[in-house]
């Protein structure tokens, strides 16, 4: 089953959603803990496995969770490549692959829902959907956490709300985020301005793999940085509001840039196409930059490649996903295989 999920990629990366020119996907994450167990950080592998058994037993009996039809995996039973590929698909977090023992994952086949057991907290519920769709997924995500609350005694205090292993997630335990592609703002050097402005709105912007990760191919993640003191809707609204502002900025600048630098842009896109046509191999970083330019080209209708295909490729070319596609563990081959893959997909378009 895991192989199918890994080969197919999550559903949301293949769909061009609302406002999909800027917002690739929307994500809701909810943190919850059991009240009578030590947090995962303080628990031994043995204790974590006991927590998993306890959770599994109750979840498997729940008719709600049965209907969700989630597949489950012990992280320690997956290979390094499989774990890394799940991370590259945003289905799990970097912390979740650090030490796989005592960690357990529930995953829906379409890659929309994942529930990490024993990440920083006992439960990390994640729901992802294509495009600007926070409103759609917030109710679904809370339906999952509400159902957990029905079968487990969840750690909570009247003043601090839902208790989490790190105080940064206290209160609602909610993180709402948008995965955005803002190549023009990146090109004209506006990202730092945005970063500086966002802190006062309790919103952060960071690389695509969360805290401390770098931005690749102008992909960024914006999310709320506080979770206590505001209710869930206000938090989601604040992320939406900033998301809309950034979207407007990117669209405006895209038009302006296109008017002023049309030739330069066409040159850059041609150079990107050349890299695919005439090279023998390509690194992930190079390929990501190429795709980022092709994505602008597709949005401005300078090239005739459907944006859904470019979106999918932005994920597909990641190293461990490539390793699974080609069933190889040879690092030295990946850069060649990646280019071959791109050539093959683009042969009908370029």
């Amino acid at each position: 089953m895991l192989k199918t999920i890994l080969k197919n990629l999550p559903k949301w990366i293949k769909i061009y959603g609302i406002d999909g020119d800027v917002v690739i996907s929307s994500r809701i994450r909810i943190a919850r803990n059991l009240s009578n167990f030590k947090f995962p950080f303080k628990s031994s592998v043995d204790e974590k496995n006991k927590i998993i058994d306890f959770i599994k037993e109750k979840i498997e009996k729940s008719s709600y969770f049965q209907e969700l039809n989630l597949h489950s995996f012990h992280m320690s039973e997956l290979s390094d490549v499989e774990r890394m590929a799940l991370l590259e698909m945003h289905l799990i977090s970097p912390i979740f692959i650090e030490n796989p023992y005592g960690k357990f994952l529930y995953l829906s086949e379409d890659g929309l829902i994942s529930i990490m057991i024993n990440e920083e907290d006992h439960f990390r519920i994640q729901y992802i959907k294509e495009g600007f769709s926070l409103d759609d997924i917030v109710s679904n995500s809370f339906l999952i956490s509400d159902n957990l609350e029905e079968i487990f005694d969840i750690a909570y205090s009247t003043n601090l709300g839902y208790l989490t292993s790190c105080p940064t997630n206290l209160g609602t335990g909610l993180r709402a985020s948008l995965l955005i592609h803002i190549p023009i703002l990146n090109l004209i050097g506006k990202i730092q301005d945005i970063v500086d402005n966002l802190t006062k709105f309790s919103i952060t912007i960071r690389g695509i793999f969360g805290e401390g990760s770098e931005s690749i191919s102008s992909l960024f993640q914006i999310s709320n940085s506080t979770s206590l003191g505001k209710n869930e809707e206000t938090i989601v609204d604040s992320v939406k509001k900033i998301g809309k502002e950034i979207m407007k900025l990117e669209r405006n600048e895209r038009e302006k840039y296109f008017e002023r630098n049309k030739n330069k842009l066409i040159q850059e896109i041609n150079r990107s196409i050349g890299k695919i046509k005439y090279s023998h191999k390509i690194t992930y970083k190079e390929a990501s930059e190429v795709l980022s330019f092709l994505r602008i080209g597709s949005l401005l209708r300078l090239i005739d490649i459907p944006i859904e295909i470019i979106n999918e490729l932005m994920m597909k070319i990641r190293t461990n996903i490539m390793k699974i596609e080609f069933e190889t563990f040879e690092d030295s081959l990946i850069d060649n295989l990646r280019l071959e893959y791109l050539k093959n997909v683009f042969k009908n378009y370029l």
Binding site: Y16, G17, I18, D19, G20, D21, N33, S35, F37, K38, F39, F41, K42, E120, G131, D135, V138, S139, F142, L143, S145, D146, E149, I154, A155, Y156, S157, T158, N159, L160, G161, Y162, L163, S165, C166, P167, T168, L170, G171, T172, L174, S202, T226, S227, L228, G229, K230, N231, E232, E233, I235, R251
Partner: protein, 172 residues
Amino acid sequence: MICDICKKKEASIYITEIINDEKKTLHLCFDCATNLGIKGILKELNIPYDVNIIKKFLSLMPGFIELDEKEKVCEKCGTKFEDFKKTGFLGCSNCYETFKDELRPIILNLHGSMKHSGKRKGEKFTPKTSIDEKVKKLKKELEYAIEEERYEDAAKIRDKINELLNNVKNNT
């Protein structure tokens, strides 16, 4: 952030006072903080000089003055506050009760609040935005999308409006 007093040096001490949701922050450089002393700082914040307030104030400033208290240990999981300082993680939900005083300034600094106002345990999450409002909002978005000639978006928004309206029809 520049020091609020000398307006020259970089502030390294932030003191936030919240009374009835009203927030006031004083940014001080080390020199000005030393010169003002506790009494001066309280005066800047318009807080009356009172021994109990001073005691509370000192307990909120770890490292400023060490209080001769025994090191607390969470009785449920054995975590010490030192452990949290090193890792950033607490050991169990009871730690929040054990280290209530020590965590207070940290939580305030992170969230600017000490009061949960989201859904309560046992309560179901119900988004306040009604379907009517959602449809109204989407219709506006549809107008923008058409204006900006984003026809693919417009089609998707139209489908969503229809989906919402159909849901209402089916439910009634």
